[in-house]
Symmetry: C2
Subunit: 113 residues, 2 copies
């Protein structure tokens, strides 16, 4: 059993050139011995955004704090604390923060590497 406090988990910028002002922490991942599932925490700063993209694996998202916009092929939806988002494999998606406070969410994925 491994217990990680989020305050001790390294925070790195997301370097994807189609992202801006996004940071990632991985409180439960390969380093903790998780072989099938990875739990990440993203922080999108004001005016930041993740890439508008698709990939062949799903996202299970839970908003932690702040509010943001999730983009799909059907448009934009505001999400905030207490909202869960399931993004299907190969579904277009993006997370944006046009607001003035940080937008934080958990994003769980299958281990893909």
């Amino acid at each position: 059993m491994i217990i990680n406090k989020i305050s001790s988990v390294k925070k790195n910028p997301v370097t994807d050139e189609k992202a801006a002002n996004v940071e990632i922490q991985i409180p439960i991942g390969v380093d903790e011995g998780s072989e099938k599932i990875i739990m990440r925490l993203f922080t999108i700063k004001p005016k930041g955004y993740s890439p508008l993209h698709t990939h062949n694996y799903e996202h299970l998202v839970k908003v932690e704090s702040g509010k943001g916009i999730v983009v799909s092929s059907e448009g934009e939806t505001q999400i905030s604390e207490g909202d869960f988002v399931f993004v299907l494999p190969n579904e277009l998606h993006q997370f944006k923060n046009p607001y003035d406070e940080e937008f934080k969410f958990i994003c769980v994925i299958p281990r893909v590497l």
Copy 2:
């Protein structure tokens, strides 16, 4: 893409006879089309506990609110908001709430049924 507000997700008691005062919600699961990973939210009321047990799949846990005790073969650890717990497959574990307020945590598992 499916967006679920936690307030609209049905809450059911955990009926395991070795559990007490535990409720479960499944904001992202089979009903949402998630084929590999299930995201559950547990609420353990004061004096409640989950079973002390093992199973052949992992848990990825994030404490949402309140505080509780996680039990492993090595003893008991208090956990609270901002803590993440990775329980390995086949590892003994239990979650308990000896405190006076509700203890809530996300628990992600691979789809096992």
